[in-house]
């Protein structure tokens, strides 16, 4: 996938990498990194030690305001806050729901994006264009509205419920079930994945596909040995971004899910706000971080790889 732009980027980058180190460049680039360190890095470190029972220093105020705070009894802290979360019978149901919804959403979204992108790349034409345009619509819709719209579409007086009722049949009420949550996360995750994977597929040179075809390779073989390997990095970005996005979602499960079991995103907000158990809230946040860490690693890897391929790093 070499466009003139990328060749230019790569040439410039080669020049850039041999250039002498610039102090000016360093200072220009520091502010956003500093913001990230201060408001993402620092809070994560402080919240982590808070979850281990370090309740003094910068964590003093939150420890004063919150209820059921566990303070460390060893030099390294305590697992009491973790224990109290694990002892809550609802927790594992919520964790299971979170992981299940993330997994199902990622699989469905990836299957649909791959199918559409391959169809668009190989067949092209109006049908593909219409389908791609349709799946990009959620990009225009703020997630709060999406959640609300899906909520009323599948609720007790929703579209399918009404339609089936007219014909004297019954359609299940999906709103306030985990099915509705999955519908919502799939709906909101589609555009990014489709954009990523279809642009990856579009940049595969015609010559490669034609040659394979002339050599007698069938459709599935072309997909398996040429298209998927060549679009691998965008596929990894789409998959990891979708999984991380769903694991960290709040609005969709809040509007669409059952009260119990729900996704951990909702519980984190509940414990932080209404229940006033900030330490447990932070503990759950770190459990989600742990679950997402491997996915996050691949997300960063794929993005850096993609930046390298296009000559930006």
């Amino acid at each position: 996938m070499t466009t003139s732009n990328e060749t230019l980027n790569k040439e410039n980058l080669a020049v850039l990498k041999t250039a002498r180190l610039s102090l000016f460049g360093f200072f220009l680039s520091v502010p956003p990194v500093l913001i990230i360190l201060l408001f993402i890095g620092l809070p994560i470190v402080l919240a982590f030690i808070f979850s281990l029972g370090f309740t003094s220093g910068p964590n003093r105020i939150i420890a004063l305001l919150g209820q059921e705070i566990y303070t460390k009894d060893n030099w390294w802290g305590t697992f009491d806050a973790y224990k109290s979360v694990f002892n809550d019978s609802r927790f594992f149901g919520n964790l299971r729901t979170t992981l299940l919804v993330s997994f199902v959403t990622t699989v469905v979204v990836l299957t649909m994006s791959l199918g559409l992108a391959i169809y668009q790349r190989i067949r092209g034409g109006r049908v593909a264009a219409v389908l791609i345009a349709l799946t990009l619509v959620p990009l225009f819709v703020p997630v709060v509205i999406a959640a609300f719209a899906i909520r009323s579409f599948y609720d007790g007086t929703g579209f399918f419920k009404s339609l089936f009722e007219i014909f004297g049949m019954n359609f299940p009420t999906l709103t306030m079930t985990t099915y509705a949550v999955a519908i919502g996360t799939i709906w909101t995750s589609l555009p990014f994945s489709i954009l990523m994977i279809s642009s990856g597929m579009q940049s595969i040179p015609d010559a490669l596909i034609e040659t394979a075809q002339d050599a007698g390779a069938g459709f599935l073989r072309i997909v398996r040995t040429i298209m998927i390997p060549l679009a691998f990095v965008p596929i990894v970005i789409a998959a990891t971004f979708t999984a991380i996005g769903v694991m960290g979602s709040f609005t969709i499960p809040y509007f669409l899910g059952a009260n119990q079991p729900t996704m951990l995103g909702v519980e984190i907000v509940n414990f932080f706000g209404p229940y006033n158990r900030p330490q447990q809230s932070v503990v759950m946040a770190f459990i989600i971080f742990a679950a997402a860490s491997v996915i996050g690693f691949f997300y960063v890897w794929a993005n850096v790889r993609s930046a390298k391929l296009s000559g930006k790093i």
Binding site: F26, F39, P142, F148
Partner: protein, 280 residues
Amino acid sequence: MAREKTTLNLTSGSWITRVFVGAFIVFMAIFILGPLFWLAARAFATSWTFPNLLPDGVTFKWWGTIVGDKSLLDAIRNSLIISPIVVLVSAFFCIPAAYAFSRYNFFGRKTFLIGIFAANAFPTIGLYAAIATLYYTLNLMGTVLGIIIIQLLGTIIFMTWIPAAAFSSVPRNLEDAARDAGASKLRVFRDITLRLAMPGILVAFVMSFLASFDEATGTYLVGAPEIYTMPTKMYALVLNYPVQIAAVFSILLAIPSVILITVARKHIIGGHLAEGFQIK
């Protein structure tokens, strides 16, 4: 350079394939568009009797209700004040950095870039809980500054990555030629580099504005109940107001997204978006 894409000759002419493709399009249309139309219709409905597929009557009275509700107007005002500030602050900090990433070699360059991606690799809700914990200490809970910072975090990847790509695509020989012709460094930057990179920078502005304007979770966690923006007001609207008012408010909230993404669509779908993306 519109080049023809190869079309493989699949056995797709058969009517079975056609029926299947047709059914899939109908399914996708209902799946994607159905909820939006179902909701939008409610903004103009007097009432709606189950199981009718159309409302009982058409009215505009719900639109008037919005104007009469101070808390809703406050939310609109807050959104319209906070989001532009977030975009400007983000541009102020990030665009010089984008230029540096594109033009200078410096100590930590690669680490910084990885760090910017890594900031994006956390499930957001966990991150917001951690940030809110620190906010109590910094006295930022329920403050406009607190909301600005939390929304700023979601714009950094757009404001560095997209303009960096735009700066990189400005031909160096144009800049060199202008320098040879006697233009000052500043003048070259202003009249050539910045001007040619402008489309990319504008896309970054659009994406950052929307990221800020539509951000709900973090804003809710640190802003409510003192300060509501349009998206966080939706939480209360959905649960406590007539569905028609929430529908009207939804349409109002969607207007900026629809307008801005339509305007920038060509650039977004053409590839700038793939260069840095974070929405939820």
